[in-house]
Amino acid sequence: MSVQRSTVIFAWILLLPAVLYVTVIVAYPLVDTFILSFTDASLKKTTNWVGWTNYDKIFNETFAEVIFRTFIWTFFSVSIKMIIGVFGATMLNAAVPGRALFRLLTMPPWIVPMAIGIFMWGWMYNGQFGMISGVLQNMGLSNGPIAFLARGETAFWATIITDVWIGVPLVTLYMLAAMQAIPQDLYEAAWTDGAGRFYRFRRITLPLLVPSLITMSMLSLIATFNSFDIIWILTQGGPNGETTTMIIDTYRTAIGSKKYGEGAARAVLICIFLSIFCFAYFRVTSRLSQGEQK
């Protein structure tokens, strides 16, 4: 047996446990979701093949609204995360005393169990006695208590802000790392030529951050599109379904109402959307790297 072949075999032996695990726990369920979506699976003993019925049902309901809402929710959440993240990273990148501590203080929302951070927001949004409503009233900005989670529009934004809060630490630290990877001599050369701080930021930092921004937006997009805990704990998709995103709707249908088939059809749609995002991402990044080579 050649050295080459024994190496390849060894590599596969090393990979086998992880590959098997992911095949059973992720790949198989993925296929199963697809199959289930064409059946009327439920708690009943028997399961029948129903063709496209589940998909037909989806589009006859108010599902278009749910899809639209999911996209808006995701769009705002990801954009705000990116803006705050780049802002935070820029501030934390400044060579000022105390920055090590400030970086450390950025981490808690990411490191603490998600659900617990969400409980705290649950209190912040409390209408009668919570902090936000209270501060607004004390400042005279609001005449009465605002029950943020009880009204559709405010609940929608409240869940977005909590999602942003949980996602910002990772975005910030990632962008900070990307900023620190920019060669210092670029800044020094520009500085020697008399370029000011803002000019350097706009002409050196921002353009060189673009690849990292795209990558982070993509990761953030996937996580946000799949975001479940925040909405489920704060509003369970209410009031009147005004915070019901696709994931929440899927959970309701499948686990709440035990309609596994219809739930699976929704899950398949989510997978399709996620695949489209990924495909678009790879197209964009491969274009970018081609552009660099020219």
Partner: protein, 285 residues
Amino acid sequence: MSQPALINRYRWYELVGIYAGIFVFLTFILAPFVEGFLVSLKPLGLLFSSPYRFWPENGSFAAYFTMWESVPGFARYIFNSFFISTIVTAIVLVLVIPAAYAFARFNFRGAGVLLGAFLAVNMFSGAVLLIPLFRLMRTFGVLNTYLAMIVPGVAFLIPSAIWLLRTYMMRIPRELDEAAFVDGASHFYTLRRVILPIAMPGITVVAITTFIGAYAQQFIYALTFNSKSEYMPLPVGLFAYFGRQEVVWNELMAASFVGIAPAVVVIFLLQRYLVSGLTAGAVKQ
């Protein structure tokens, strides 16, 4: 510390701007913790009174004592959280160390595609695979046991662990493997005796991030695959308490802070590793 380079000298108004920016940023990040902590000190009567008061007048740590009775399973929930996270981390390491080494060292056909497939796993975390996973757990007969939370948890922590450790291992000079190989060491011996000791700092980082991930994300599977309160991890245990009609907020917040204390201690002890570990996989060298 040496004098900062001339380029990093700030004018006074720039310094004011930077600190103001940091203040606003950290206020957003930390406000819920500050408010949550103050709530845990306030007596319920003060909490449920208007107008809103930020500082706890005649505050006390009473809630930190009464919560043990109000949330009877509390100590058990914390134990469960730790137990589940520890087992998850151990399994992830066993699966990921060899896989990361294979990706870092060997050029075999399909390596790129396989790595991409692993990373794609991240796409399907959350509720997407919940239905078949539920059926799978039922088939394995592990619903309402620790395993129902451990098994899916592991799968979704594998991708980022592989990615991180692979990046770390790629920095270990290849000459080391080759030297061992020339001396007649087998592949397996090289991995165990040459690579593992050198990769220990990287493995530590992966272990920490995996543990934190496992500790932070115990919600949806625990909520769906387990209904026995003796196995519930902290987030789900407290969720039951949070969902009541009359939430006893000061006790809930006190319980939350006791529950996150271990995680906070870990951050402060290991922050150095964390930042470097987090960013190692992120930026191309």
